[in-house]
């Protein structure tokens, strides 16, 4: 969902920007005194500035309450027990304490690394990136995810970790609730 919002928002705002530049380019062939242009321009700028502040404020309010750092995201979705899975990145593989899940499983991935920094990127069967965190030596980052669809998920390394970076992939299977795929 956030990927689509990001793409549409970028296209929309870049289009508006291009319109503004095209308009000014068109008007650049005409001539007028700069004083009145500045006066009017500064007035418009106040509203433009406030508009940007409003957009940024709205985006902050809408998103800062949904941070992926907290466990409340998983807890809020149901009463099921949270599974804890230990994940360790090592050039060029993922070691996991468990790699079979069921739909509805709320999983707490505790992610670290043994050698260098890796990136734990969880992709669903459609290869959409659904969650990630960094896997750093000496640190444990905890990321929560609730499996809502069955299928073969993949963990891809998302932090460059040397020449085998692109082969650092692990498949995990999510079975339908109460049965196998």
């Amino acid at each position: 969902m956030y990927q689509q919002i990001a793409m549409y928002a970028t296209v929309f705002f870049v289009f508006l920007l291009a319109l503004a530049f095209a308009f000014v380019y068109g008007e650049s062939k005409r001539s007028a005194d700069y004083g009145p242009i500045q006066k009017k321009g500064y007035k418009i700028r106040k509203f433009y500035f406030l508009g940007l502040i409003a957009i940024m404020g709205f985006a902050s309010v809408m998103t800062l309450g949904r941070l992926p750092y907290d466990r409340h995201q998983a807890e809020a979705t149901g009463l099921n027990e949270i599974k804890t899975v230990e994940v360790t990145g090592i050039q060029y593989a993922w070691e996991m304490s468990e790699d079979q899940f069921q739909v509805g499983d709320q999983v707490q991935f505790k992610v670290t690394a043994d050698d260098v920094t890796h990136g734990f990127g969880l992709y669903n069967e459609k290869m959409e990136l659904v969650a990630q965190t960094q896997a750093m030596p000496e640190y444990t980052n905890t990321v929560y995810y609730t499996f809502e669809e069955p299928g073969t998920y993949q963990i891809l390394c998302l932090e460059y970790c040397s020449t085998g970076h692109h082969v650092m992939v692990k498949e995990i299977v999510v079975e339908p609730e109460g049965g196998s795929l």
């Binding site: 242009i37 940007l52 990136g119 290869m127 959409e128 960094q134 040397s162």
Partner: protein, 488 residues
């Protein structure tokens, strides 16, 4: 404007621009090779892919800094007398640093990326030998020392002429109610870059020295999280400052072409002070997926990354639109590129700001969305400024004229750059990771679109560079003519 640039500095600037433009083409070719490999159009080994990737990243940031410095020095020389020896020293250290980096990559197979994230270099040293990592890290250190000396010198000069960096940033107008305008934009921007980039270089030097010591003696270790903070405090700020140096040309040249003043009024000064502060603070948006970092620090990363867009959107880009509006400005190579560069900068800031939103970053960090946004503001913003300056330099110091081939090359460059960054952003949107030597079938089409776009961008860059070198002949003949006139 009561100073003039030293003739030796002018010659050195030619060297800066010549090196930047030639290396730019080579790095662009490297970029195309990577995209062609990801798009299954050619096949290179992963080892070669990552070596090329390391060279591409390091080289592009290097020439951006080189081009930005040339612009800063050229325009600052109009207001402050500068000793060209410092500019030459920086170039010499840059050259030595680059040679060491190239030896590391192509002789000793170093391929840990330009961000050399600790402890990756020491891990690679254990596997492939220490020489590559030692050459690379030492080369970067020498390069950084060159820039640090340059900024220390500029700080001393601004202190002498303007009474300190605070005054150069207009603090007496902002905080003490002094009437009138602040120092010229070139001075304000230089003060900002001195403060931010010196901090960045000290952070970078710390992590480089620690990494070197760790390779020489593995018993000496560093906290990897601290190392990451220092690495991005260096990399983010240093890369950002290249554009803050280059934008000086936009202020100077658009003002000259439109015959309208671009004064550093109070709002302008506040904007640049905000940029100074925010640029120092927002590198934490590179650590949004490091959940072990205190949450407040990551929220700062989001909120102030948003805020950092405001000075450019509300003051600089808006100011460029205002100064060009109904100005009957002459559209030539320089004015077109400077105008378009403001579009490129803001267009790149939009997806960058979106990516700094933590919930978005959670599903887009380290996908191709990231090179998508920074290629927009670096390629269509910063590089456009540097190329625009190359033409402006030849026109001002020589007699280069705008021709139809220039109009063609600008159209070629911007059209296909839109294709390139569009392919990156789309690939990021569908989850394609960045820095992967090989791609899954669903990502390949976007790579192919990027590769084809890249080929035409290289063509445009070759035309720009050929025109620059051809135009230099008129610079030499003008200097020669002036010397003869002076002698007679």
């Amino acid at each position: 404007m009561n100073e003039s640039i030293h003739p030796l500095a002018k010659k050195t600037i030619v060297w800066y621009l010549a090196a930047a433009s030639l290396v730019l083409i080579l790095m662009m070719v490297f970029g195309v090779i990577m995209l062609m490999n990801q798009g299954n159009m050619i096949s290179i080994t992963p080892q070669w892919f990552y070596k090329i990737m390391t060279a591409h990243g390091t080289g592009m940031v290097g020439i951006s800094a080189l081009g930005g410095t040339a612009i800063l020095w050229y325009f600052l020389s109009r207001y402050v007398k500068l000793n060209p020896a410092i500019l030459i020293l920086n170039f010499a250290l840059f050259f030595i640093g680059v040679a060491m980096v190239l030896i590391a990559i192509f002789v000793f197979h170093f391929s840990d990326g330009w961000t050399f994230l600790y402890p990756l270099p020491s891990q690679s040293a254990k596997l492939y030998g220490a020489a590559g990592a030692l050459f690379f890290l030492s080369g970067m250190l020498i390069l950084g020392i060159g820039f640090l000396i340059l900024y220390m010198y500029l700080a001393a000069r601004l202190t002498k002429v303007y009474g300190g960096l605070g005054k150069a940033l207009g603090w007496d107008i902002i905080f003490r109610g002094k009437e009138g305008n602040g120092p010229p934009a070139a001075v304000v921007a230089t003060a900002m870059v001195i403060i931010t980039n010196s901090t960045a270089l000290l952070a970078g030097a710390t992590v480089l020295v620690a990494s070197l010591l760790n390779i020489i003696n593995p018993a000496i270790t560093m906290d990897p999280m601290l190392a990451k903070h220092l690495t991005y405090a260096f990399g983010h700020i240093f890369a950002n400052c290249t554009i803050y140096m280059a934008v000086i040309a936009v202020y100077e040249v658009l003002s000259e072409y439109t015959r309208r003043p671009w004064k550093s009024n109070k709002i302008f000064l506040i904007a640049w002070n905000c940029s100074t502060l925010f640029t120092l603070m927002i590198y934490t948006h590179h650590l949004l997926m490091d959940f072990a970092v205190p949450k407040w620090m990551l929220i700062i990363g989001q909120v102030f990354s948003y805020a950092n867009g405001l000075p450019v959107m509300v003051v600089t880009a808006y100011g460029a639109l205002m100064i060009v509006y109904r100005s009957r400005m002459k559209w030539d190579f320089a004015s077109s590129l400077f105008f378009l560069s403001m579009f490129g900068w803001v267009a790149g800031a939009i997806p960058a700001i979106i990516d700094a939103t933590i919930v978005v970053n959670h599903v887009m960090h380290n996908t191709k969305w990231v090179p998508g946004h920074f290629h927009t503001y670096m390629g269509m913003g910063l590089i456009a400024m540097i190329i625009g300056f190359m033409y402006y330099f030849n026109k001002t110091e020589g007699n280069q004229k705008h021709t139809s081939i220039d109009t063609f090359s600008i159209a070629l460059y911007f059209s296909f750059f839109a294709g390139l960054v569009g392919s990156f952003l789309y690939a990021g949107g569908i989850g394609a990771p960045r820095r992967w030597a090989e791609h899954l079938p669903q990502w390949v089409l976007s790579d192919q679109v990027g590769a084809v776009s890249g080929i035409f961008i290289v063509l445009a860059a070759i035309i720009f560079t050929a025109r620059f070198f051809a135009g230099l002949r008129s610079v030499r003949s003008k200097v020669h003519y002036n010397k003869k006139s002076a002698a007679s």
